[in-house]
Amino acid sequence: MSPSLPASSPAEKLTLAMVATGLLALLLALADADPGRQQTWLYLALGLVSIGTLTWSWLRFGRHPAGVQQNNLWQRASTGRGSVAWVTGLVLTGFYVVLYWYSSDDGQGNFGPLNNLVHGLDSFSRWLRARPADQWFLYGTFYTLAILLMGTRALWKYRHSRYQLIRTGSVMFFQLGFAFIIPALLQFFQQPEFYFSYFWPLKYDYLFPGTAAALVHNGGLGVFMVFWGAVMSLLATPVLTYFYGKRWYCSWVCGCGGLAETAGDPYRQLADKSRAAWRWEVRIIYPVLGLIVAITAVLWVNFALNSSLLGEVGSGAAKWYGFAIGAVFSGVIGVGFYPILGPRVWCRFGCPMAAYLGLLQKHFSRFRISTNGGQCISCGNCSNVCEMGIDVKQYAQRGEPIIRASCVGCGMCSTACPRGVVNLENGPREGRYQASPLIHADSLRILS
């Protein structure tokens, strides 16, 4: 039996009503046949949702004393897998299905069910990119807005932790600058659309010979893009991961991670912490990495040999990979199931970049999460907030450092720990796995 939840203040209800009205306006934009009004509805919707979310975040988190604010998390229908969560999940999943498979331009500028929304952004897109909007511009706009709005919520919520403030600022910056404005400006200047914050093997086609050839063909900037992609994937990734762990990317730069850390923050506790889930993680994520490495290799061998058989196999596999992994896994399941499975399903079970970074983090890195002696009380708050489903307390209660391939270094375990037990640190590799030497009754080791 759960106790009754404290009532939301009238002001909070008002801001939530604002968000709801905004979503209603979005439906009106979808339904209205008049192009002028479509745009009005759309901007009204975005305005209401934005102001509503920002004000609600301030009322909900900003007015209370700074500190861990997790009250009633598991008891709310929105964050505890209740009815609101299921509805949210269905809407998100439906949006992705429509976006991926029913929103392509039919050749006459018609983008399927989302058509009105796409055209509602035409003038903004012309201003920013010197071309009309398409379904991906709509998606990019929504995605960036979600990171900025929910990022601001996270800034209010975690304002007692400078690590969380700076990290949240970082994902907001990289999304807005590197994944939204710069690609749009490139298009404005008739350059290839390129995302400097996504690398192979996550952005798998960036190291495909076809992509490289097309970019190189484009001239100086294209050559730089190929160079950037190769250097970031093959050189910068190992070096940065050596010094800082995979967090330099997964929870500071990456757009998928950025969405998970901001829009997905209310759902981070939903990640399954069981050993069984960990086993599935290992069974799935490394084969995905193997698959994309193999596909990339086949495409390059074909490029070198110019063999038609390999070319067909390679491009066929790439196409299939794009559908199954790129669309279904990372989009529909990865984001659609946020309110049910937690926000890092894709990062944890599917992302080949995370797998690659994880191997580096586990075996060639200075990063670890230290445990502070014997102070752990096994309360489980650290495990609870781990969006990657790591059962952090298993390590903390043994006094062991946490060194896991999947850890994205978001730092929430450290933020949530009520006893100051866990801390993200970069230190010498020597003794990295050493457990706390000093938790004992004199000469005894506890739980050694």
């Binding site: 004393p65 998390l73 400078r162 002696g373 708050n381 609870n384 739980l447």
Partner: protein, 445 residues
């Protein structure tokens, strides 16, 4: 060998795991009346507050027990026959043992207040208390918490999380007067104030008043004030749970009496954790230790003796931690609340009142450091212990303070301000900060 452990709390479970490690063949059985599986007692509050679900309280997944061949029996031990090595359970079964560990924990203290058995009056110790609190605080507007210790502030925070107004009665002139110096207690008081929790200091409970249905309706304090409320939380400490031991004729006082090897007066029967009372506690130590950490250490220690390597219980360098609303607290070594002969202390407080550090050291040269209090700061336990064990002079500790900094990255570092304050308070030691935070500088010293 069959080791039977009564109680599946941290003490019993730690002992079971330590024995399993040393004796792979031993049969080990844990009996618990409270729960089928071990759970984290200090985390109860987080379930009430909705941070966690009940199943999240378990430190180990359910498969863990079978895998380690630890038998779990969810039943109440009703009678112990130490002459025949037999334990009777309320489900009718009888268990024979070779060695027995009593790790029966505590129960909340009730001081015989009038009205203490009214509905809606309770302590917070175990799962039944959590259930009762969940049930009895539904839809109420005010709860009174009696006690200015760790559980008192937890109860206040729990009520606060549900939008129920807590009111706290504290016997001493400041919060946790037996443990915290008043400067530190003032920071806790700021937390109460910031969260709008009224506290009545120098005030105790006199009586609890009930309504016609036998439910609490108000309390009367020793200052004569009548405070309307619908729930009362008693957080005035716990007392060892010794009923079973006493019925079995094992020697008890407040707790089950044990020697330094945690042996009772009956052969092959041990007691450890909250329920045990040391016949001869170490100098400056208490006879009954009722903490998660000491429970764990006693469980670990008694396991050695049970496995045949008689090991005396030595608490080691003291440590403890807590959190008061948003204020974390850690303490290491000797950190008395009141001025103590032969000891001096250096105290620094951040202007915001959200962080403080106190370093205790001997008044005589070389001014060896003996303890720390940290509020709103995280200290590295290994480093603090090392300083205390090595009797490092306070000047050395202050100049290497960064080595003990366990705050997350990018957090403001206060060592400079602390050293400056130290030099002002103790001009005879002019200290220069030599060591900054971080694992690399830890090696470089």
């Amino acid at each position: 060998m069959h080791l039977l452990i009564i109680g599946n709390g941290i003490t019993g479970v730690t002992c079971a795991l330590a024995v399993r490690k040393q004796l792979p063949e031993a049969r080990i059985t844990l009996v618990s009346a409270e729960s089928a599986h071990h759970f984290s007692r200090p985390a109860l509050m987080y379930v009430y507050m909705g941070h966690l679900r009940p199943q999240d309280l378990k430190p180990y997944e359910d498969w863990f027990w079978d895998k380690n061949r630890l038998g779990l029996v969810h039943a109440t031990a009703t009678a112990l026959n130490p002459t025949e090595n037999l334990l009777t359970l309320d489900n009718g079964t009888t268990l024979a043992y070779d060695q027995l560990l009593l790790a029966t924990g505590s129960e909340s203290k009730r001081h015989g207040w009038p009205g203490q058995h009214l509905a809606g009056v309770q302590g917070l110790y175990g799962l039944p208390d959590l259930e009762a609190m969940t049930r009895d605080t539904r839809g109420i507007s005010r709860g009174v918490v009696v006690g200015g210790g760790l559980i008192g502030v937890e109860l206040a925070e729990m009520l606060h999380s549900r939008g129920i107004e807590p009111l706290v009665l504290v016997r001493d002139a400041h919060y946790w007067g037996s443990v915290l110096p008043s400067a530190e207690a003032n920071l806790v008081d700021r937390q109460f104030a910031e969260n709008r929790v009224p506290v009545r200091y120098r005030t105790e409970l006199r009586e609890i008043l009930g309504d016609a249905q036998g439910r609490v309706r108000a309390v009367v304090t020793t200052t004569g004030e009548e405070i309307a409320c619908q729930w009362v939380g008693l957080a005035t400490g716990v007392t060892p749970n010794i009923a079973l031991a006493r019925r079995a004729g094992i020697e008890t006082d407040c707790g089950i009496l044990v020697d330094e090897y945690l042996r009772t007066n009956v052969p092959n029967v041990y007691a450890a954790g909250d329920c045990a009372q040391h016949r001869q506690p170490g100098a400056g130590e208490v006879a009954i230790e009722q903490l998660w950490y000491t429970g764990r250490m006693q469980g670990e220690t008694v396991a050695q003796t049970i496995c045949g390597q008689s090991t005396a219980y030595r608490r080691g360098i003291w440590f403890n931690s807590a959190k008061f609303f948003n204020l974390e607290y850690q303490t290491y070594g000797q950190a008395p609340a009141a001025p103590t002969a032969g000891l001096e202390s250096f105290y620094w407080e951040h202007p915001t009142g959200r962080a403080a550090l106190r370093v205790y050291f001997r008044a005589g040269a070389p001014h060896a450091v003996v303890g720390f209090n940290a509020l709103g700061l995280r200290l590295r336990q290994a480093q603090c212990e090392q300083w205390i064990r090595q009797q490092a002079p306070v000047a050395t500790v202050m100049s290497h303070l960064g080595a003990a900094n366990f705050d997350p990255e990018f957090f403001p570092q206060h060592e400079k301000a602390m050293v400056a304050a130290f030099n002002r308070q103790f001009p005879q030691h002019q200290v220069v900060l030599r060591q900054r935070k971080g694992l690399f500088s830890l090696l470089r010293k």
